[in-house]
């Protein structure tokens, strides 16, 4: 369960970075607007996780446990590397007033960032946790972290964008290594 939560937190970082920027470029803390946009991210993350769980159930079976583990480790290491490089290359945002928050853009962004949840859904298949709990955790974690990120952005600015990215990359890397060690041992 702990590994599951850790992975879901890492997957939420993409949406957190987006909401952090939105919070940092607004002049008013519009709770309703931020909640709506965070809800979009949360709902899409649940749908993507569910899709991932379904895909995992379809393509993987009991005989493929080892292959499943190896694929999981590889996926996490790749995601870690991608996020690290993306964060490293990301230019510092110019803090500029942009109060408008477009639902269409948020929906597009949520689908793009939801790919992590899809992959996590695939990797969490067959770990012994009921899917409903995984989906509930995905929803709650994403919603709360997106809302928090928007508040952090509003009060503290966008300086912490890179920190979110590096933390997420680290989590994926650590989980991948934990899986690798448990596989070897």
């Amino acid at each position: 369960m702990f590994r599951c939560i850790l992975l879901l937190v890492a997957a939420s970082s993409d949406s957190d970075i987006y909401m952090l920027e939105k919070g940092a470029t607004t002049n008013q803390l519009k709770v309703k607007t931020f909640f709506t946009h965070s809800l979009i991210f949360a709902v899409v993350s649940v749908l993507m996780t569910f899709l991932g769980l379904m895909i995992g159930k379809l393509i993987l079976n009991e005989k493929m446990v080892l292959l499943h583990e190896m694929i999981t480790i590889l996926i996490f290491l790749c995601i870690s590397a991608i996020i690290f490089v993306r964060t490293f290359r990301k230019e510092k945002i110019i803090e500029r007033l942009k109060p408008e928050m477009d639902l269409k853009t948020t929906l597009k962004q949520s689908i793009l960032t939801g790919i992590d949840f899809l992959l996590i859904g695939v990797s969490l298949t067959g770990i012994g946790i009921a899917p409903i709990y995984i989906l509930f955790a995905a929803f709650l974690l994403n919603l709360s972290s997106s809302l928090s990120a928007s508040c952090i952005g509003y009060y503290l600015g966008a300086d912490y964008q890179k920190a979110f990215g590096y933390l997420s990359a680290l989590i994926y890397f650590v989980v991948a290594n934990i899986e690798l060690i448990s596989l070897v041992l």
């Binding site: 470029t25 002049n27 803390l29 110019i94 803090e95 500029r96 007033l97 009060y155 600015g157």
Partner: protein, 187 residues
């Protein structure tokens, strides 16, 4: 009788930016730092400015235009140069702001506005000219910016009155006039 001068939030934020620029380069200053210095939350900054570049432009405008109540162009120019001399360190840091929102561009806009006001006060009509008043003020503003930048960033400490005379020569006589004068001196 007013016992104190009212200061607006906009001016407070601009002052905060000025104080921060004494401590660190402009590029490193964040909106949060400006807010903290002014004693307000980040969001309040955006109620007055679009970004920190706009705040810098407003600050410069306040220093060069707001504090000088003078209609005569020559005297105004002299006062502006005096401000540049007294705030030399601040303007040195300002000239380091480059790129899309460079300080040179900001200063050029401000000086062009001052020149435009002067043309309006003098009731100068550009309708029969091949050049528009906008181009005229832009060219001369850029010339003044070049002279100012050179003066501020150079290590020699020329007095503002020397720069004032240089500018009067350039603005008053133009290139041909100056060349003719130099030729006469050589002869």
């Amino acid at each position: 009788m007013e016992l104190y001068k009212r200061i607006s939030m906009k001016d407070m934020l601009a002052q905060a930016l000025y104080l921060l620029m004494e401590e660190m380069p402009f590029e490193k200053i964040t909106i949060k730092q400006i807010g903290v210095k002014a004693g307000v939350i980040r969001g309040t900054f955006y109620n007055h400015f679009y970004d920190k570049y706009e705040a810098l432009e407003y600050l410069t405008y306040t220093l060069l235009v707001g504090s000088i109540e003078e209609d005569n162009f020559r005297i105004r120019l002299k006062r502006i140069l005096e401000v540049f001399q007294t705030q030399k360190e601040f303007f040195k840091k300002c000239f380091q702001v480059e790129g899309q929102n460079s300080f040179e561009m900001m200063l050029s806009h401000i000086l062009a506005e001052i020149l435009m006001n002067y043309l309006e006060v003098e009731k100068v009509d550009f309708q029969k000219s091949s050049m528009s008043s906008k181009d005229f003020t832009a060219i001369h503003a850029n010339m003044i910016v070049y002279v100012l930048k050179n003066w501020i960033l150079k290590k020699d400490n020329l007095n503002y009155e020397v720069i004032y005379e240089q500018l009067l020569q350039l603005l008053g006589k133009g290139a041909k006039g100056m060349i003719d004068e130099l030729k006469e001196i050589q002869e």
